[in-house]
């Protein structure tokens, strides 16, 4: 029977009475506002990130809804009047002017992609939940460099501002991949594209700061007694992510810099006419952007570990396998970028990249299998977080398996840049990361805000999202296979039926998210108070902190004496639901 002993933190200000939660206002309104703006508390920064990212997700999502609206009809002219230029008419433009209509579409589509990637999914989990939970989970009082953490938050805001400037100037139409020479020649008379590229560049720094901070935190600030394999797997996931962030982002940095030079000074590095090479840009871009897709998924998988073990209240099956698979994914992710360039030239290197692509699938497979094995003989609580975890297993597996089609050279020559690819990456990014993210938000909501949410509304939200998601994106696999290219503002009528299914799906999806929006707001204003450890879990964030945690996280610096998932040790079998004896922090224990 393991216990958690702990000792008081020496010299802690006013040790005698209990401390207020980190949410407790510091004084009058403006004092509080300033306190938040200038805070170095990882929890506050995490919460600010969370709301910024959710907001950006909604913006990107609304853009997505517009994209779907446009695609509801192929462009058809009847009686000289264009239908199928929904966006153009929505923007009050002449719907008969195809160029205008297409431009509006291309800009909306690019806007959606850029926001979702650079402003939502890359920072999403690490910067919000990661920031909030990482120190709690390893028993630290803060991240290694709190000021750097705050800096990364303001850099994120700066980057978003640049993006917004570009959008106000009319938006860019490069596609999120900025392929040259198009990106260096479009809108030649304006600085829009430069602003947008600058935004991506700046956001890169925010991501580097966060990653660097987390690596050092995990290395140096683990609580006494917490070895590498006593860390919750969430921490492992975030750690792997941080490694990729730090090692891959500088490369996109120099690439985007060159892109800007190219645009402003025509230095010609990517312009074939001047002796440059557009394919070189693609190599540089994907050398960053493939690893980044694992920056997107690893945190999602990190959350999955906690949702699964917490939902089934069971030790993760094959802890070490899961931990190492994280590192394996991080490592291999650096050598598969070429699978985005199969159609660029008939290169032999493509063969190697194809092989490596299959290799990188294995660690993901391992994780999936381990999670399913973890459910076996568990005590599964079908609350919203667990539902989302199961949803992840369903959707990510589809997304991953379709990745195997794309990894197969001959098949990719057909599927490349079709809606099959679009569907693939929505199944992994939306169906993987975002689903896990939303699940995670529900899971740690009580911890973050000390309030419970309404389970039934949340469940309803999940059902709508799950159905809507599949309805939106599954048809895209089929039309992609039939040859529907991506980034098309108009299309041949053959594909209309699938597009219409997809559009209807996106509406259901939106309803689902509105339901969640409602749940969260309702919980904040009218939610019932949450107790410190509502699920009865053993990781420090639950077992050792109040909900919400105090400013310095722990009343007593925890000393870890058992693994994060050792339910079997502390929980006698045959206990009734809710009867889990929860290890309580005992102030009196030895120093």
């Amino acid at each position: 029977m393991a216990t958690i002993s702990s000792r008081p933190i020496a010299g802690h200000p006013h040790d005698d009475h209990a401390h207020p939660s980190y949410l407790h206002p510091k004084g009058g309104f403006w004092t509080t506002v300033w306190d938040w703006m200038s805070t170095v508390d990882h929890k506050k920064i995490g919460v600010m990130y969370l709301f910024a990212i959710l907001f950006m997700f909604f913006v990107g999502g609304v853009a997505a809804l517009l994209v779907r609206l446009e695609l509801f009809t192929p462009t058809v002219v009847t009686g000289g009047v264009a239908q199928g230029q929904e966006l153009a008419s929505l923007w009050g433009l002449d719907a008969r002017n195809w160029a205008e209509g297409n431009n509006v579409y291309n800009r909306t589509m690019t806007l959606h992609g850029l926001i979702m990637v650079f402003l939502v999914i890359v920072p999403s989990v690490p910067a919000s939940l990661g920031n909030f939970l990482l120190p709690l989970m390893i028993g630290a009082k803060d991240v290694a460099f709190p000021r750097l953490n705050l800096a990364s938050w303001y850099v994120y805001l700066l980057g978003s501002m640049f993006a917004i400037i570009a959008i106000i100037m009319g938006g860019v139409d490069t596609g999120w991949t900025f392929y040259t020479p198009y990106s260096t020649t479009t809108d030649a008379d304006s600085l829009k594209v430069v602003w947008m590229v600058l935004a991506a560049f700046v956001l890169g720094f925010s991501s580097i700061f966060t990653g660097l901070n987390f690596i050092v935190t995990v290395h140096k600030l683990r609580a006494p007694g917490m070895g590498w394999f006593d860390m919750p797997l969430f921490v492992w996931g975030i750690y792997g992510t941080a490694l990729i962030q730090v090692l891959a982002t500088p490369v996109i940095g120099i690439t985007l810099l060159l892109l800007i030079f190219e645009r402003l000074f025509h230095i010609g590095v990517f312009d074939p006419r001047l002796g440059g090479d557009p394919v070189l840009f693609q190599h540089f871009f994907w050398f960053y952007s493939h690893p980044v897709v694992y920056v997107m998924i690893l945190p999602g998988m990190a959350i999955m570990n906690e949702l699964i073990s917490g939902g089934a209240r069971k030790k993760i099956f094959g802890y070490r396998a899961v931990a190492f698979s994280t590192l394996a994914i991080a490592g291999i992710s650096f050598i598969v970028w070429g699978h985005h360039l199969f159609t660029s030239q008939g290169e032999v290197s493509a063969v190697i990249f194809s092989a490596l692509t299959y290799l990188v699938a294995i660690p993901s497979a391992v994780k999936i299998f381990n999670w399913i094995a973890t459910l076996y003989k568990g005590s599964i609580n079908l609350n919203t977080p667990t539902l989302y975890a199961l949803g992840f297993l369903f959707l990510f597996t589809i997304g991953g398996l379709t990745g195997l089609f794309l990894g197969s050279l001959a098949v990719d020559l057909h599927l490349h840049d079709t809606y099959f690819v679009v569907a693939h990456f929505h199944y992994v990014m939306m169906g993987g990361t975002i689903i896990a993210f939303v699940g995670g938000i529900h899971f740690w909501w009580p911890k973050m805000f000390g309030k419970m949410y309404n389970e039934n509304w949340a469940r309803l939200g999940f059902v709508l999202v799950f159905i809507g998601f599949n309805l939106t994106f599954f048809p895209q696999f089929i039309m992609g296979t039939q040859g529907m290219p991506r980034r098309y503002a108009s299309y041949v009528p053959e594909f209309q039926i699938y597009h219409q299914l997809s559009t209807v799906g996106s509406w259901v999806l939106a309803l689902g998210f509105i339901a969640h929006l409602f749940t969260f707001v309702h919980s904040l204003v009218a939610g019932r108070k949450a107790d410190p450890n509502p699920y009865g879990l053993l990781t420090l964030d639950w077992s050792q902190t109040s909900s919400p945690p105090i400013e310095h996280n722990f009343e007593h610096e925890p000393v870890v004496t058992h693994g994060p998932y050792d339910f079997d040790d502390v929980v006698p079998p045959q206990t009734r639901p809710g009867e889990f004896p929860l290890p309580k922090a005992s102030p009196d224990s030895k120093h």
């Binding site: 020496a10 010299g11 709190p146 230095i267």
Partner: protein, 240 residues
């Protein structure tokens, strides 16, 4: 884990703002300094800071290696343009700058050692020397090299206005040259700023045998800047 200093709860803030209020200001700063509250002690904090610095340097190296990649690829694509282009560079200035940076490297190393041994006077002297080495480097680069190129119109891309005969794609070479040296020069300028900061703190007596991480970090940064130049010099000036 060592548990020294548990007595005092540091805030990382300079003395005076300390929770324990009044404090004997006669003791030098570096002895009064408390680790930030989430560290056990100073060693613990400096450890972390050092690791952070190393990671940051790793990103710097990656950034430059991206640039060297580009150089290599374009050199393979247009060797003649690169060779002819490099003929416009005067290797003597390059060599002089290399020597200057190497000396500065020595001085910065010395500065770190003096910080460790608590020899403030020589710490400051070496920092100043390094600062002026950087200044000298930039002076040569701008006055004797950039200025000449600008006059001759040996500029990247659309500013390229060279009168004499040039191989095709030479503007590309100049793009690479200005890009590489430009980014490097920016790093030198930043470095000089950092040394100014170190010098100010040294004057306030912030450093001492137990408290020199900042000096060490800036020193490491400066070494990277040097190493990058050590690569740039032969690649740009010497290989024909």
């Amino acid at each position: 884990m060592a548990m020294i200093d548990l007595g005092q709860h540091g805030s990382g803030s300079p003395p005076g703002h300390d929770h324990h209020g009044a404090e004997d200001l006669s003791r030098p700063y570096h002895e009064r300094y408390h680790a930030a509250h989430h560290y056990n002690d100073r060693e613990h904090e400096f450890d972390a800071v050092k690791m952070g610095i190393w990671l940051f340097l790793a990103t710097e190296i990656l950034l430059f290696s991206g640039m060297f990649c580009a150089y290599a690829i374009f050199r393979l694509m247009h060797p003649e343009a690169f060779i002819n282009g490099s003929h416009h560079l005067d290797w003597r200035w390059g060599l002089l700058n290399t020597i200057i940076l190497l000396m500065s490297s020595y001085w910065v190393a010395a500065a770190v050692r003096h910080a460790q041994t608590g020899n403030m006077k020589w710490l400051k002297i070496n920092v100043v020397l390094t600062f002026f080495a950087g200044a000298g480097f930039l002076f040569i680069k701008f006055v004797f090299e950039y200025a000449k190129k600008i006059r001759e119109g040996l500029l990247p891309g659309r500013f390229y206005a060279y009168g004499g005969d040039a191989t095709p794609f030479e503007p590309l070479w100049w793009g690479v040259y200005w890009g590489a040296t430009g980014i490097h020069a920016t790093h030198v300028i930043v470095g000089m700023g950092l040394f100014a900061w170190i010098w100010l703190r040294a004057r306030k007596g912030h450093f001492g045998p137990t408290h020199y991480t900042a000096v060490e970090g800036v020193g490491l940064y400066w070494h990277i800047v040097d190493i990058v130049w050590i690569f740039l010099f032969p690649l740009l000036y010497l290989i024909h």
